[in-house]
């Protein structure tokens, strides 16, 4: 993968496939360490499956017998001396609080660190493909935070789909403005 944002898109798809109603994509940058967390409330995986998903020869797909999503994310973090952990609780084990929590850490000053790339585009792609599930995206940088919660948008939009073109353009613009906003500009009064 050329950008980490593509790994994010790929692995978050697994959460949607696991029947998640909310998938959280959390990025935290601090002291040359980037932490990526993908947290969902999907059906979860038992211990055997958790162990085997980092194996490229395990996959849920039916068209062929290899699955490279998690192995590629593992490679991307381990090649920076980071690590990947997966915690999961199945719906059978806990009918109320189930789901999967993937955590990947990266050393951003490592020469083999893959640039994050266009995360906004990945978030938009997820929303475009899955307008009926919710996503919470939060990118915590040293000096600012970019955040988007589709549950808040849904409240305003009611039955207008999140993947309507105008809505997608609004989301794109909103994320772009949040990324471009300088820390000193972020006055709480909200005046331009």
């Amino acid at each position: 993968m050329k950008e980490l944002s593509l790994n994010i898109l790929d692995v978050a798809e697994n959460s949607v496939k696991a029947g998640a109603s909310l998938t959280q994509i959390l990025l935290t940058e601090r002291d040359d360490v980037l932490t990526l967390e993908i947290v969902d409330d999907g059906c979860g995986m038992d211990e055997d499956i958790v162990r085997s998903v980092t194996d490229p020869f395990y996959t849920t797909r039916t068209t062929r017998k290899v699955g490279m999503g998690i192995p590629l994310l593992k490679l991307a973090c381990e090649q920076t001396d980071g690590s990947l952990t997966i915690e999961s609780v199945t719906q059978e084990a806990n009918p109320v609080e189930h789901g999967t929590h993937v955590t990947a850490t990266f050393h951003t000053d490592h020469i083999d660190f893959t640039p994050l790339g266009d995360v906004s585009s990945s978030i938009l792609t997820l929303i475009q493909g899955h307008p009926d599930t919710d996503f919470l995206f939060r990118h915590q940088m040293e000096d600012r935070v970019v955040e988007l919660d589709t549950r808040e948008l849904r409240e305003v939009l009611e039955d207008v789909p999140l993947n309507s073109y105008d809505v997608m353009e609004w989301i794109r613009g909103n994320l772009q403005e949040q990324y471009e906003m300088l820390p000193e500009d972020s006055n709480p009064s909200g005046e331009d």
Binding site: D10, R61, Q128, G129, L157, V160, D166
Partner: protein, 123 residues
């Protein structure tokens, strides 16, 4: 700032359109978005279709959706076009420029861009 008030305005404007969309029976553009597709560049191809279809004024008749692995990973990014009463067209090794051409010639003009289809590329 892209405010929630602005989103509210979009919602009010869209409300009537939604009803129209439900009854539509037009072309369906499906982009393969599994690991293989994503790694090969499917994200910009999908975006090109979403944006291009809207700019061409086809949003009422053409829907753009995503799917998993289609099974021909070596030809990704793969895009399938389904039209009622016609045979499925499979475009392979796509990029945003080719996507634009497919929108203009195929979705708008009604002519399949055969040079990008699997039948031509795979031979």
């Amino acid at each position: 700032m892209k405010s929630l008030a602005e989103l509210q305005a979009i919602k009010n404007r869209m409300k009537d359109k939604v009803v129209l969309r439900d009854g539509m029976e037009g072309a369906r553009v499906v982009v393969g978005m599994a690991t293989c597709g994503i790694a090969a560049g499917a994200r910009p191809v999908l975006n090109a279709f979403v944006e291009g279809v809207n700019k061409a004024g086809l949003e009422g008749t053409v829907s753009v959706t995503q799917t998993g692995c289609i099974g021909i990973c070596q030809y990704e990014p793969v895009v399938e076009v389904f039209e009622p009463g016609k045979e499925k067209v499979t475009y392979v090794k796509m990029n945003p420029e080719k996507a634009q051409e497919v929108i203009e010639k195929h979705l708008k003009g009604g002519n399949v861009v055969s040079e990008y289809t699997i039948g031509t590329v795979a031979v």
